[in-house]
């Protein structure tokens, strides 16, 4: 057997060990944070800073009652709907704008304007326009995350190496292959980090919108716990939203990212 094939077998366990090590480091970071939180909670009353234990038992209680899941589901529905909308529209429009220098120049001030408008201002407008339904948080999530994705797609389409365009023409790649073999892989390397940022932001904006605009969802539940001065419940809701985000990040986005970008490190 040629020597070059021997390194293959021990590559898999090494990758697996690397995964374990990353997981261990992440868990360790979280545990240190919990320890500091627990330590801090000893100096203050439960009204100011409830301990992690109290927070998580409150959360379990909220979920066990059955009401907790439906609040989380409502928030997830709105955050993901707004995110999906800006993912599709932002990526498509950004790609198109990146192909034309004129469109790029024209879109720049508009994007700065969108990025510069505070999310809370959008929320006030959305409440006036759409009232107290799902449309308000979905719109707010969309309008806040759209420019992030749009700019990334624009940069991706704009920065494609001219040599690769020449390659596509000289080797007569059909239109479909230009898209799947040249444009998409390049653009995704720009888009993916933007999608991750936009997804994280979607949750925050959805919760904020619900706090002011809707009768259900985690944001609405937070409004209730605030009016009851129930700090433990507030912390429990925060923990639930952040936990959901961590799950999506480590179980879905992280493996996807490593698969999509394997060519960078290989």
């Amino acid at each position: 057997m040629p020597a070059s094939t021997t390194p293959q077998p021990d590559k898999a366990p090494r990758a697996w060990l690397g995964y374990l090590w990353r997981g261990w480091c992440a868990a360790f970071g979280l545990l240190i944070f919990l320890a500091l939180w627990d330590w801090g909670s000893r100096f203050y009353s439960e009204l100011i800073l409830p301990s992690p234990w109290v927070t998580f038992t409150t959360l379990v209680g909220l979920l066990a009652e059955g009401g907790g899941w439906s609040e989380l589901a409502a928030t997830a529905r709105r955050a993901l709907a707004g995110f999906a909308l800006s993912l599709v529209v932002g990526s498509a429009l950004g790609l198109l704008a990146g192909l034309s220098v004129t469109a790029k120049l024209m879109s720049r001030p508009v994007i700065t304007l969108l990025l510069g408008t505070p999310p809370i201002a959008w929320l006030v407008l959305a409440v006036l326009w759409f009232g107290a339904g799902d449309a308000t948080p979905v719109f707010t999530v969309f309008i806040v995350t759209f420019p992030i994705i749009f700019v990334a797609a624009l940069q991706g389409a704009h920065t494609l190496d001219g040599q690769l365009r020449n390659l596509a023409r000289a080797y007569r790649l059909p239109g479909r292959m230009i898209l799947t073999d040249i444009y998409l892989p390049h653009v995704v390397s720009y888009l993916f980090p933007a999608w991750v940022v936009a997804l994280a932001m979607s949750w925050k904006v959805a919760v904020m919108a619900e706090l002011l605009a809707t009768a259900d969802g985690v944001g609405a539940a937070l409004a209730v716990s605030r009016s009851h001065l129930d700090t433990a419940a507030t912390m429990a809701w925060i923990a639930a939203v952040v936990g959901l985000l961590l799950l999506v990040e480590y179980l879905l986005l992280d493996p996807l990212k490593r698969k999509l970008e394997s060519w960078r490190t290989a």
Partner: protein, 276 residues
């Protein structure tokens, strides 16, 4: 089956980069366009490959398949070496098992191992990338190969090895070659006919024939032929060198005179006579 260029001119905006180019490349012929940087060599290749359309004149490429080997390897960073080699075959709609088998066989011929073929370009050395680019161009079984100094960044050993591989394949298959280069030795090694280009605007100013068969050219012959080529007034003018003999004017016996005494003066090499 030939490539015919008539009265070709090209401008970028107001700047004329090529003017009145005439060229006929018949089947199996190898022509090198030689000239200084910025004389429009690459533009001419891009026009022939159809990456640009000419401002005036006519290009008729009668070859069924043309491959273009760029100055940079220009591999797709997100595809493995194997997929990069098979790119042109995929574009032709060849099914995956068949094109992968073809690409693998070509890769092996060019000294790539199975492990190399699985790697992404970022993990390949410069020489390996050039091999992949060469295999990708060769996979199309071109009747006409366009070369734009593809190995100029490699060391002499690698360069010689890749040129030898290419030359053997081209002679075996009767592939026509059109290359552009500013490296005279490269041109003398690979071409039957050298066209000297001058810049501002790019044009052809001289034509030289090499009659020794390409596979029969040894190192010594290459050095001598290159040295003689360098003495031609068109070549010296094109590269902005002082006319030959000038640097010897007031000094010792000029080497130019000694050359002419052996009947190898610049005038002896032009056009019809050729070098042996």
């Amino acid at each position: 089956m030939n490539l015919l260029i008539e009265g070709l001119s090209h401008r970028f905006g107001q700047t004329e980069v090529l003017t009145n180019i005439e060229l006929n490349l018949s089947a199996g012929e190898a022509v090198a366009l030689v000239g200084p940087s910025g004389c429009g060599k690459t533009t001419l290749l891009n026009l022939i490959a159809g990456l640009l359309s000419p401002s005036a004149g006519r290009i008729e490429n009668g070859y069924p398949a043309t491959s273009y080997l760029f100055q940079q390897p220009c591999l797709l960073p997100w595809q493995t070496a194997l997929d990069n080699i098979a790119l042109g075959l995929k574009a032709r709609g060849m099914p995956r098992p068949e094109r992968e088998a073809r690409a693998r066989a070509l890769g092996h011929q060019l000294g790539l191992t199975d492990a190399d073929l699985k790697k992404f370009p970022s993990a390949l050395s410069g020489g390996m990338k050039s091999r992949v680019a060469l295999a990708r161009a060769w996979a199309l079984e071109p009747e006409l190969l366009l070369l734009d100094e593809p190995f100029s960044s490699l060391d002499v050993g690698l360069k010689a090895e890749l040129y030898a591989l290419l030359l053997n394949q081209m002679v075996a298959r009767g592939t026509s070659l059109l290359m552009v280069t500013h490296d005279l030795m490269e041109a003398v090694r690979l071409a039957d006919r050298l066209l000297m280009m001058a810049p501002r605007p790019g044009r052809i100013v001289g034509e030289f024939k090499l009659e020794r068969p390409r596979l029969a050219r040894d190192e010594m012959w290459l050095y001598q032929a290159t040295a003689r080529f360098m003495q031609a007034p068109e070549v010296r003018a094109g590269f902005g060198l002082p006319p030959s003999g000038q640097e010897l004017a007031g000094g010792t016996e000029g080497s130019a005179e000694r050359l002419s005494a052996r009947g190898q003066a610049p005038t002896g090499m032009v056009a019809a006579t050729g070098w042996r």
